[in-house]
């Protein structure tokens, strides 16, 4: 067996009982295949930029295609494994490492400065697209974790919204008070965030820990986990959060968030989802940073590349693919079309030109990410293989505690064992 692909192709050809047929040239030099996940709104904007690119580069055609998040990854995996990957692939922070380390993406380091202009990008965001020292993904926008808050619900009970300086203690007390004060039926102060990984990560970072260390180990210990779950158990007992069987409806998507379902005044989400939250909520929504562990100390946030464009290592015309990405992130016309739908643009020039043209919600999202200031720190190290499974495990353990199947004391060491086992397996 020489390599996997020839093995697969060989066996498949055998299976086809000698069905001949030369492998068709899917990858064509003048035709770029572009694949992203997202909604129709994102699609409209992306197609418009593709048209602009075609107009500016005669002879190039861009065939764009988009899917929802859940459908996207099986398709990308199948096509890449089959040797038919799209030329330009939209990548998520977590999957970027999985794909780059498995050799599915082309390194872009060599194009920097000439074909690819990223000099006025936020340097941390460039690093966010780097894997083992080489650039594999160009960030399409920055966002950060945020609380989504139902403004009307807070005004109704005459309470202040959580602000930049709110500590976890104050947050817990305020949410308890809110749940008692609100006239709404089955309505609580906050969603139960004990299983929300970005929230847990933020809390760890404020305490000088991390989810993962640079050498791909867990960046926290059993005591951290127990304390975290205990904090939430106390809030749950005090009635600050929604009950566990309501929280379990939350799939960490916009439409299942506790604010969107009308079950709580606070949800945990990302800043670029503000527009999406507002679109399906009848009441005004705003955003704020996560609560703080202490009044001094860092806020634990970081500006996260919301998504990347990467070039497949199988691309027939990587130069063309790079040219498209460069156009996408730097061209002023393209930027005007794209807005902040994918997050706040990374290029300073683009950002400055764009900001005044945005509507109020868009400006608020930009201002939030820009205004994090001291609350934001460096990007965490890339997640190791298996991180996705650890994420699922955190959520499951949080549910086990909430439903009374285990206790925070027991869950701490058990979760560490499980997570370490997952990482060891990779």
């Amino acid at each position: 067996m020489t390599n996997r692909r020839s093995f697969l192709i060989g066996s498949a050809a055998l299976a086809a009982l000698g069905a001949t047929g030369v492998r068709p040239a899917f990858a064509q030099a003048d035709r770029l295949r572009l694949l992203w996940w997202g909604s129709q709104d994102r699609a409209d904007r992306t197609f418009a930029v593709a048209d602009l690119f075609e107009a500016a580069n005669s002879g190039m055609t861009v065939d764009g295609e988009f899917l929802g998040w859940g459908d996207y990854w099986p398709r990308v995996a199948t096509q890449t494994a089959g040797g038919n990957a799209p030329d330009v692939i939209q990548m998520d922070y977590r999957y970027l490492f999985e794909y780059a380390r498995r050799g599915a993406l082309a390194p872009l380091e060599g194009y920097r400065g000439e074909a690819l202009h990223v000099d006025d990008f936020d340097q941390a965001q460039i690093e966010g697209g780097s894997v083992d020292g080489s650039l594999y993904g160009i960030s399409l926008g920055a966002n950060s974790s945020a609380l989504m808050l139902n403004v009307a619900a807070f005004e109704e009970v005459g309470m202040d919204l959580p602000g930049p300086d709110t500590t976890w203690e104050e947050f817990a007390a305020a949410m308890t008070e809110f749940s008692q004060a609100t006239p709404r039926q089955n309505y609580a102060g906050t969603a139960d965030g004990s299983g929300v990984e970005p929230l847990f990560e933020n809390w760890l970072r404020q305490r000088g820990k991390a989810l993962y260390t640079a050498d791909e180990q867990l960046g926290f210990d059993a005591a951290d986990v127990t304390e975290w779950f205990q904090m939430w158990a106390d809030m749950r007992a005090a009635g600050a959060t929604v009950p566990p069987d309501v929280q379990a409806l939350d799939q960490y998507t916009i439409e299942t968030g506790m604010v969107s379902l009308g079950r709580a005044a606070t949800s945990f989400a990302h800043s670029n989802q503000l527009v999406g939250y507002q679109a399906i909520n009848p009441e005004p929504i705003t955003l704020s940073n996560y609560p703080r562990v202490g009044a001094d100390g860092s806020g634990g946030h970081y500006r996260k590349p919301s998504m990347f464009f990467s070039v497949a290592s199988q691309a027939a015309n990587p130069e063309g693919a790079v040219a498209f990405i460069d156009f996408f992130v730097n061209n002023p016309e393209a930027a005007a079309v794209l807005g902040v739908e994918r997050g706040v643009p990374e290029s300073a020039a683009v950002r400055d030109a764009l900001t005044p043209t945005l509507d109020e919600l868009g400006q608020r999202a930009v201002a939030y990410v820009a205004g994090l200031g001291d609350l934001a720190g460096a990007l965490p190290p890339p997640p190791p293989a298996g991180a996705g499974e650890v994420d699922f495990a955190l959520r499951r353990v949080s549910e086990e505690i909430a439903f009374g199947a285990t206790t925070p004391e027991a869950a701490g060491p058990a979760f560490i064992d499980e997570a370490a086992g997952i990482l060891a397996r990779g």
């Binding site: 068709p24 129709q40 295609e65 916009i254 739908e341």
Partner: protein
């Protein structure tokens, strides 16, 4: 319908007539009550497609506070390629699939049900075995296979397997029904000098209208609803099917057109619903009404 068995008992006596009328009314009442249970999701979807988007996820009354049909227009033209194209693509794939399944599966089923040949049980067991393997693990090798045949981004990976009887469900289904057709019929035909082809064509198929109609209905509906095959094999929005178009409306991590989704979901049910209504007539024209004596 004159030979309908239950009608016969109606003529039995006068005192029974009132009881029967009451029974009939109460059966209708039960059926209508059940129908509402069955229709509820459709009503809900209709309501979701015309109500303000901000009402969809916050549970409450099914009756919309305001009615607005604009999501139908928005949905139809919303995806750059109109839904008309998606409907047409789905229709073509579904129609070809029906033809393929009916021909190929009935041939194989006839062999398994009626012909005696070496290895019949062995092949039958293998055929059933193909039903059991989850498709997730054969997806990638199959993709590589179709890629090498040059079939990716055409409808061939979705249609050709149907002409090669790849769906064992239908073979098994037809086998069970073919075995219910009295063997004396083929034996008599054989006496008259008919070969297996003539028996298949002149006796089996005409007497199998119910199962053929069933197979046609299922093929149409399942192909129409199929999502994973088109997702993997159709890479060009112009060749998308309705289901693929529907999935494109929604991305849970961003702002989505939920109204458009529910509007198009409702529309996508119309062809299948009418197809079902039409084809189920064929279900009725079975042996029961041909008056055939055993």
């Amino acid at each position: 319908m004159t030979t309908e068995p239950h009608r016969l008992s109606v003529v039995r006596g006068g005192e029974n007539r009132l009881a029967r009328r009451i029974l009939s009314i109460s059966i209708h009442a039960v059926l209508i009550a059940c129908s509402i249970l069955m229709l509820y999701p459709l009503i809900w979807m209709l309501a979701a497609s015309v109500r303000p988007q901000t009402e969809i996820f916050q549970s409450g009354s099914i009756i919309p506070s305001a009615i607005d049909f604009s999501s139908y227009v928005r949905g139809w033209f919303g995806l750059r390629i109109s839904f008309g194209t998606f409907f047409w693509n789905s229709f073509v794939i579904a129609t070809l699939s029906i033809v393929g399944n009916l021909i190929a599966c009935s041939l194989a089923a006839f062999a398994f049900a009626r012909l005696d040949f070496a290895g019949r049980r062995f092949w039958f067991a293998l055929m059933l075995g193909t039903l059991m393997l989850p498709y997730h693990v054969t997806l990638i090798p199959q993709y590589v296979l179709f890629l090498n045949l040059g079939w990716v981004n055409t409808i061939l990976p979705l249609v050709v397997p149907k002409f090669l009887a790849a769906d064992a469900f239908f073979i098994f289904l037809m086998v069970q029904f073919f075995r219910g057709i009295p063997r004396e019929l083929d034996e008599a035909a054989m006496m008259d000098g008919c070969g297996p082809w003539r028996i298949y064509w002149k006796i089996m198929l005409p007497l199998s209208m119910p199962v053929l109609a069933t197979a046609a209905i299922f093929t149409f509906i399942w192909t129409w609803d199929d999502f994973f095959g088109p997702l993997i094999y159709l890479n060009d929005m112009r060749s998308y099917t309705v289901q693929l178009g529907l999935r494109s409306f929604v991305d849970s991590s961003a702002q989505s057109d939920w109204g458009g989704l529910f509007a198009m979901s409702t529309l996508s049910l119309v062809p299948v619903f009418f197809f079902f209504l039409f084809f189920q007539r064929l279900l009725i024209e079975g042996i029961a009404t041909t008056g055939m004596k055993r």
